[in-house]
Each structure stands twice: as structure tokens, then as C-alpha cells.
Assembly symmetry: C2
Homo-oligomer: 486 residues x 2
Amino acid sequence: MEAALLRGAQWIKRSSSCFLKAQNIRHASTKQRALRLPETLRSIIETCATGDSVTASGWVRSVRIQKRIAFAEIADGSTLRGIQVIIDDPQMASKLTTGCSVEISGNLAESPGREQSKEIQATKISIIGKADAESYPLQKKRHTLEFLREIGHLRPRSQTIGAVTRLRDHAETGLHKFFHDNEFVRIHTPALTANDCEGGGETFAVTTLGSENPATDFFGKKVNLTVSGQLHLEVFAGAFKRVYNFNQAFRAEPSQTGRHLSEFWMVEGECAFVKDLETLIDVEESMVRSTTQYLVDNAGNDLDFFLHKNDSLTRLVKRLTDTEPYACISYTEAIDILQRADEKVKFSFKPQWGKDLQSEHERYLATTHFCGPVFVTDYPADIKSFYMLPNPDSRTVACTDLLVPGPCELLGGSLREHSYGRLKEKIEGLGFEQGSLDWYLDMRKYGSTPHGGFGMGFERYIQMLTGLDSVRDLISFPRHAGRCQY
Amino acid sequence: MEAALLRGAQWIKRSSSCFLKAQNIRHASTKQRALRLPETLRSIIETCATGDSVTASGWVRSVRIQKRIAFAEIADGSTLRGIQVIIDDPQMASKLTTGCSVEISGNLAESPGREQSKEIQATKISIIGKADAESYPLQKKRHTLEFLREIGHLRPRSQTIGAVTRLRDHAETGLHKFFHDNEFVRIHTPALTANDCEGGGETFAVTTLGSENPATDFFGKKVNLTVSGQLHLEVFAGAFKRVYNFNQAFRAEPSQTGRHLSEFWMVEGECAFVKDLETLIDVEESMVRSTTQYLVDNAGNDLDFFLHKNDSLTRLVKRLTDTEPYACISYTEAIDILQRADEKVKFSFKPQWGKDLQSEHERYLATTHFCGPVFVTDYPADIKSFYMLPNPDSRTVACTDLLVPGPCELLGGSLREHSYGRLKEKIEGLGFEQGSLDWYLDMRKYGSTPHGGFGMGFERYIQMLTGLDSVRDLISFPRHAGRCQY
């Protein structure tokens, strides 16, 4: 080891202008030194004082040039509203166009407007990257979400997608915080899987061949994209007691509504040594409550962007975070409520014990009847998955769906069958490929425990809080039947 | 809305034993109430006092029965070592086998042993799920990592995979903390993508047909699993200034060494308005330093499990977290060092300017020459990707790899070409499908900024800290050529 080299690492001289005396700069550094990245607007607004000389960079959202003064709004994604720049010399502003990137030096001042507390009085403006005013598609005027989807690579600059993106980030942080505060371990469950338990026909195959002979394909067998990490998570719950994941799931759902994505994010939790559904429902409810509270506390501006003037959404967020337990009824009670309502409401599908709840039924329960979140428990065994634990009545299983206004079904969970004998019988009866679930059975053979878990669609959660109609506006790059841009 | 129902949600009576007066229990709840999950061993060890009566659940790791006393070690994944249970009545212990799940009541006592500070003096033992002593594959004796891979569904119970899993969880948390502390926004970049810029032949196709006509396939076009989220992240950097992701990436790498996985996790960062490589290297170095420091502070036991008796690993962790900047040399300097070393070392591949560094070269630089992390910058343009920003010498590009002992290449980053004209020329010269990268070019047309980013293989990072040879032991369910179990 050449200590001299280690201490005195030399930078190659790349150009006279960008050549820094890196050796010195890097040696002055300390463990906690701030990164030398250009400041975010949020940091300027929150940490600089009126009168401070600042340099702000971002993208121009709008320009308004008057006779003696010009105004520009610039944004950089760190805040909902960006910052207003006052330009005394309209000549200086004449080259600014919506969408161009700029670096602005000036002084921070109190803003007389109501929307922001601070503005910049510019002394110097540098255009970093132009944006042709004629062809730039994202003008100041209000665009529809449908139009924004057509320019998916530029829409992150829009206020709505900006707010959604920051909400997603905070919501994920809130979820991690909930699970870690409660001693769950995050498991990185795989996207590629050889089992196809839940998917039915709606899975994507993964191949390097395009051939139809899995034996000669990359993995030597048929491999799909996962539809759920549950089975893999159960493996880890059999060692870590409390586990969760936060992953993509994939469904080749052919429907063309705004309710489904082919690739979406899901958070799933699984707990060992859990004997009753009530305990599981507590976990689910706490997760939703504490994550929503985290958003109220940490992403207030972005949340308010959606709650603003929307009373029912505001009430819902209040309801989700108050101390009152969420409503909870059995499937049997739900059918009863729906049948009584049918006389007035006239559902397209008659509510009937033994049949799955339709969207219109779920919507009625969450939106009309309960006006808020409602757990529905103990569905008929015949319409639910093979791994769910039967109730003593043998007709129903120990499961629950959480219905909410907006996306309706927000999460689903159940206790899992933990008896080796009963699960084996079930699997054999369903005609799974011989031996393909031996590993899943093994978990019931060696130190099985009563356990249960749940999964929540992340985009549906965001949909509930934003009130947006289509999940296609709630994910960075939406994928659905016939569409995979970028 | 029926307020009475909302307030007095009734539980369906599922069985007399598990029927809880849920209404009352759930109404006693407060916003901050603890979940009613069985306690983790960690929580018992950390929060209960000697003499406390406790109930502990977990899986038996070993049993030792003597004439008048028996010892069992139980674990639940919440701690590295589990807890020792003292059983006064050997009869009571006779049914315990390695692997069975148990619930143990007893009193917490000081432990005379050195490994743990507390133990449980059992008063009652309930076996929850048996494990047949003859066939249970995970016995107390030390198993090889190769053997553990054959029982991937049980290996999470082993001490090594347990420590790896918790390290991964903490490392991810440390990464999120670093990025959020520095105002980065997390973007959920997609796994499914229509572009194939970096992958060459090594991408997985995604299909619902198995047919070879993409036009009739699910998305109406050829769709792959992503090899990197960089291009998608650049889109968001063009709106949010500082962005990152933490996602799976996929490569159909046919090699059968322990260096490659077909599905692995990657963290990528991208920053707009960044003009020089030094700034980017600062971000990369800070990320590695602060994440590693986070592990030292929060996952000490699990880290020590790997550092124990491994002096070079211990030195490496110290080096990664100390205040001294990491070594930094240009590719040209690296070639010079390697050529001088070649006389002694006799590399299989002669180091030569213009050719990529081989693993043996990277290993020599990180392990022998610098004995620690070293950034290598400014590689020849011809061996690097089309999107990298050329240096003024036009022969090299503004990029860097971070080499470390162990996995060698830990991360790679670069400034990106931000000029529309130059990038267009480059893309046309490379023969990409006409129009397929128009969206990527658009980013240079509308408010382009000098920018750069990097990607770090997450399993490689964990490999560096654990010193384990094969990345197959560092991920929940490894996927590689010919293998996709579970």
C-alpha cells in the first residue's frame, strides 16, 4: 500500500475551468460535510433569511413580463410551489421560456403574495438549457391528466405528478417507520418465481428464448413474474417472526380501466405465532393509521394539494388517523346490509351469500354505508385462496379485506393454514404440479406456527389519499395492456 | 351512515375459544397502542428486568439434556444469538427437538455465560409445531453455505443467513436515511421497460404468449426486464434535481460463478445541475461512508459476526467510515500502476491503455495496492456507455468506478451527455431503432442541465462487508442461470 498515494490522491486534469484543486478540497472535508450539490429551493426557502444573497437553480414554470418588471416562477421538485423570481430588468427576462433550466443569483426577500413567504430579487440570470417556447408541451395552462400521460417523460415537472411523487416517497418512509418501530424485518422477496399459486392465467412469463420449451430456457424451467411475495414472506416469517416487504408485483390483467396496472407496488406483512384475526387486523389498521399520520405530519403541503376544497377526502384522512377503531363487520353481515340496501339501490349484481363482493357492493359499503374504512371478515372459503385458515364453521375462512372510499379494496389479509396434513390435502385436491409446493408444505412440517399476513396495494393507498381516478397517474411510468412506454 | 354500527363494530363469533370481546378491546385502543403480537426475544432481552415473568416464543436451535437439568437455545430472528432456556425438569425438555416452535413461560434471570446477558428459567413449555428430529435438515452442527442453499426455505433460520438478512434491512434503512438527509426524492422506477440500452443480449423478455410476434403480445411490443433504472431516473432528475431509487435489476448473465445474480438489488442516484465529477464522487463516497457508519451504529452485532477474527475486514470497515477521503486515481494512472506491477505480479491479461480493467486488475488495485476503496476516473470513451459525457481530451469520459476489496467493482457513475446535438449524433451512430430514444433526447431539448449519477449493486455492498464469497448467500432467494427455486 502506498500511503502517499492514498493521502494525496491526484485528480486528472480534465479542463482548466473544471479542474479543482481537488486534493485540497477533499482533504478539508469532514465526516459530516455537506454535499457540494446545488441547493434545493426548499432548503433556500427554509434555511436562508431575508436579505441573504442566494443562487437558485431550477426549471421555469411560467414567465410574466410587464413594462418595467418581470416575474418568473421556478421549481425544482423540492417544494410544491417553487419560488417566485422578481426581475427588475424586463430585458433580462426576455429570453426565459417555460421549461428552460436556469441558475439565478439574487437576494431573498419577503413575498407580499399569499402562496409563498419568500421570493428572489434577481441580480443575474443564466439560462442553462433552453426550451423552445413553440414546441414545449408543458405550458402553464392546466393540462388534463390524460394529456400528461402522453408526455410521461415531462409530466414529472407538473404540479400534480410532483405532489404524487413526493407523497409516494413519504408514504414509503412512513411504512418503513411503522414496520421498524414494530420490530418487523424487511425481506427483499424476489420478482422472478417458479411458483404460480395465485396468478391463474394472469402472469407474465420470463424468457431469454421466446421458445416454448422451458427446459432449454435460461432457468431450465417455467419462470414468472411474481403476483405476490406472500409465500416467500411466509418462509421468512418462519424464522424472523415479523417480516414485511415493499416490492413490485405483476399482473397481466387485460382490463383497460384505470383500476389496474400490470406492474404495481405492494407492501406485505407476515407474522408468526398469531392465533387470531383480531391481532392481524390491529396490525393492518395501525399500519394505515400511522402511515397516514406520518403523511399529515411530514407531507402536509402535498397532501393539502389534493384535500383542498375536497371535503369528503379531508374527512376521510381525519377518519383514518383518529383514535376510533375502523368499522369491522363479517362478510355475512355485509351481505345482509347489501341485501337490505338492494331494494333502494338496485345493484347490477344481486348480493348473495357465497358470491364474491362486486366493486359496486364494496363501494356502497365504504362510501355510502360506512363513509370510511371498514374491515369485512370471514368470507366464504369457496371464493378465497387455498392457503387461508378455515374457521370452525368450515364454510368461511379467517380473512379480511379493508374497504375504503375511492379504490374500495385497499388491503387483504388472512390467517394461513398451518397444519401440514390439512394443507397437503388441499394442495392435492387443487391439482398443483406434484411436488411443486413441497417447500411450502415443509414450513408446516418443521416448527410450524399459527400465522397470518396481509398485502396492501401501494398505488391504491395513494389513490385513496389523492382522490385521483386512475392509478396510471400514481406511478412513475404506468404499464398496462397495450402500453409500456419508455 | 349508521353511526351505531361504526362505533360498535361487531365481530362474528368464530369459535368460543378465539372469540374475543373485540368490541371492548378495540375500543380501549389508543392511537399509540402497542400491537398485540407476541413479543420478540430482542424486546424481552432489552426491556424486561431480571426476575420478570415472561412468555417467549421462537424456534429451538439446540437442546442439551443432562441428568437434572436441560438447556435449550431458542431464536426468533430478532437477535443474532437467541436466548438460553434453563429447564429444571429434564422430562419437560424431552420432547424438544431442533427446529420445533415453542412457547415458553418462565422467569428472566442473569446469565452466567458470556454470550448473552440474560436467560429464561422455564416454568412451562408448549410445543407449537413439531420438527421431526430425524429428517429436519438444519441441525446444530455447522453447515456449509452450499448445503444451506439446497434448503433455501429453511436457511433463514441459520445464524449466517439471519445476520445477512438483518444487515440488508439495516443497510437499506441507512441508504434511505442518507438520501433523505440530503434531500433526494425516491423514485419507484419500473421493472418492465421498452428500452434495452445497456443490456445487449443479456436481457430477459417478458411475455404472456410465448409467441415471437411482439405486436400481438400483451404490451403490443417487445418488453424487457430492466437492467438499470438510470434512464428513467434521469427523467425524474429533470424535475426533482436529486433523485434515487432502490429496485431490482435483472441480467440474463449466463456465468455460473458466485459473482452474478440474474435478479439483484441496486441503488441508483441522479443529480441535476452537476457540472463536475468531483461533486458526484463526493455524493458516492458520502453514501458509502454514511451507510456503513449506520450499520456500525445500528447493526453492530450482526456486523461483528462477520468481522470477528477477520482483521482485514475490520480494517476495511474502519477505512470506509474514517474521515480520510477515499483514494482517487485516473484510469490512466491505474494503467500505469498496473503496468509497473505486472513485472512482479504477471497478470493473465496485460494492462493496456484503451482496454477495460479485468477483475484481476481491479482486485490488485483495491486489495494489494490501495488496501481499501479507490475511485478510478476518466476511462477511455470507447469502452464506456454512449450516454457518458466526453472529457475535453475527447479520448476519455467523465466517469468513475469505485473499487473495493472483495467484490472489486462496487459502484459506477458518470456525468451524462446533456447536449441534444451531441447525444443525437451518438445515438444515430449506434444504430438504435429509429425514434426509440426520442424521449431521452427530449430531456436534452427542454431545460437540459449538466447532470450525473451512479449505481451501486446492493448485494456487492453486503458482500464487501460480510466477506462472503458468493452473492448467492446474500439475497433471500438467489436466481441464476439454471436455477430459480421457490
